[in-house]
Subunit: 221 residues, 4 copies
Amino acid sequence: MNRSSDEVRLADTNRVEAFSDGVLAIVITLLVLDLRLPEVPPGRLLSGLASQWPGYLAYFTSFHYVGVVWLNHHATFRRISWIDPPLHWANLGILFTAALLPFPTSVLSHALVRENVADARTAVALYALVGMLLYVSWFVLFHYLARRPHLSYENINTEFFRRERTRVAIGVFLYPAAGVLGVVFSPILGLVIFLMLSIFFGVTTQGLDERPHLRRRSSGH
Amino acid sequence: MNRSSDEVRLADTNRVEAFSDGVLAIVITLLVLDLRLPEVPPGRLLSGLASQWPGYLAYFTSFHYVGVVWLNHHATFRRISWIDPPLHWANLGILFTAALLPFPTSVLSHALVRENVADARTAVALYALVGMLLYVSWFVLFHYLARRPHLSYENINTEFFRRERTRVAIGVFLYPAAGVLGVVFSPILGLVIFLMLSIFFGVTTQGLDERPHLRRRSSGH
Amino acid sequence: MNRSSDEVRLADTNRVEAFSDGVLAIVITLLVLDLRLPEVPPGRLLSGLASQWPGYLAYFTSFHYVGVVWLNHHATFRRISWIDPPLHWANLGILFTAALLPFPTSVLSHALVRENVADARTAVALYALVGMLLYVSWFVLFHYLARRPHLSYENINTEFFRRERTRVAIGVFLYPAAGVLGVVFSPILGLVIFLMLSIFFGVTTQGLDERPHLRRRSSGH
Amino acid sequence: MNRSSDEVRLADTNRVEAFSDGVLAIVITLLVLDLRLPEVPPGRLLSGLASQWPGYLAYFTSFHYVGVVWLNHHATFRRISWIDPPLHWANLGILFTAALLPFPTSVLSHALVRENVADARTAVALYALVGMLLYVSWFVLFHYLARRPHLSYENINTEFFRRERTRVAIGVFLYPAAGVLGVVFSPILGLVIFLMLSIFFGVTTQGLDERPHLRRRSSGH
């Protein structure tokens, strides 16, 4: 049997998707390890659980955030027919910043539960930094795809990638801004804005509902 | 090579299944991290291990429960040919409630091992709450599918989704009921009822043994 | 597009394989979490790492053991064309006993490092129990497959499953025997025998190198 | 439906790739569990986080290292059409050495943060040892593939595997050399060289950008 070059290309994107699915599935599931048994004397479990509420909010925010990363990844990679080395590295950059997330989530959640304001400010700034890095990594990916039309299916308009690049550029600016608000006014406010940003990026995810008739480019390359 | 729109649709459900498989595989495997070395003086390992028996029961119950989630997910998604954004979010809702499970399992298991009744009641209530949320998320999914026949294969009767909706509605009511029994009478009784509920939902899983000749709908959409 | 019933069947085994791959990949990787930083005073890291050597042996033994489970799973499921509900449950049984493994590995490794003989005996017995349960779960699977020829590809001789059933029956007897030797003579000896058993089952894994021309049965069912 | 022998072979490499993707995705994501909340008094989180900087460098180095393992694995296995038992074991050897990585990463990161020079030297030597083992496992794989042309696609020149064998042999020598430099001069220097080695192997990864027209060998075998 011959494996045609088209099959090889498909296999390529398939395996990158499988690896990325694996990393994102693990990140989204590992977050639960930070919801721990509260350290309270016997008989005080209920109040101990209740006092951890900022931790639940941080958990939900980060779960939502990784869910949105996955939806974006899915909407993007179904338009890609061929992955070259720079695109591999851009994808690893997204996975790197996404895989980091349990760390700032844990730091923020503990700082909020312990109610030390200085620590909570530090933690909000750390979360904002990682959030910004994620959107920087998306920006790099979309910028590259917008300039390399031969990597996507023939009938995919690179306009899609340019619009996405603009959309994620908003995240590059809004995460630091949310961090500043959280540090200056209130760390809990910062966390609420992080959740709202995640909802915004979830609602504006593009290209999940289109059913494009994809066609490989024969041109160029 | 052209990728026909049908291929794209198939690829879509494939990748959602792969991501969901990943999350459920991780949840079911992470549960073991809560079976820990008992903290006992040297030479007392045997009695230490034996005294952890409610933890083993909680582990088995939660493992079974996630196994049933996977079987239901499998039986459901093999009937689906196309995933639109609301269905993506409904699926993320199921993954969210399933990924939460190690937390109440850990809380319940520790509370039962430590034998503080007030804490064990709190923990049973928490477990019942998460169990109910899971069945609420299934209810939302089946409700949506029952009303969107164009998302399933052409020859799939939406009656399937309506029956499943009824079945999971039972869980929405029985988990809180089990929680109340556990709080009022005995936390261990609550855990036993959780296991029985999971077995009930495992036994009544539908549609695994049918071999439908699936056909895509060309109508509508 | 129609999805023929054959495609559906294939998709069925594919997704079961993907879920099983996920669980086994996670189990084999989680084992490393039990290799911890030794708790020693500053400057004593080298001797601390060296004194943990039974932990490394336990890690290697369990890694090898899960690797063999995966090879067996792979050799078995490539012969299966259709999965019915009992086969789903038999597979979940194998995943359950495999997912348990980090627990006895951790218990055994800590008991051997702490050098308390009574505890090490307990730990060896626990490991032998879980090892035996794994082979019981394989026995159930092969017994079922040997009696349900319509679940495997048309040209697969059910003799394969009968031979495998005999092979795993050996494990059902040898793991408890190894446990008894470990308890009576020396826990380290027990661990060495566990490793030798795993190597034996790895060497005797069947059916990886055959290239059968698989054909679905049209008979029966 | 018949499953042709070609389909079976493809399925074979698919499942090995899926299992390997799973293991590597988990290893790369588990690394984050070692980025922990610094144990500092309330209000000192910022300086606590800052003083952990060698831990972040170790995290980045190991993330990059596993990313390179995945890219190499991907470039290698897309050339393979058939996996025999020794190749299965060689692949498990790579997964074993890769799955070990969170352990030396954790040891090195803690030793550098605690600033005990003797411990840091021990940790650098351990990291170099595991790095060397990984390249030994790659060497074994490429050596086997270079001598078994019938396992790769018909039009794949085994020259590819011979060049890769030479490339990874460099790692077998350079990791111990970096370890010696780290032990003799400075542990941080050792870590920086580990990162540079990983970048070198990332940059020299071969065969990701070729689009070979793969063809199965009909000869021999």
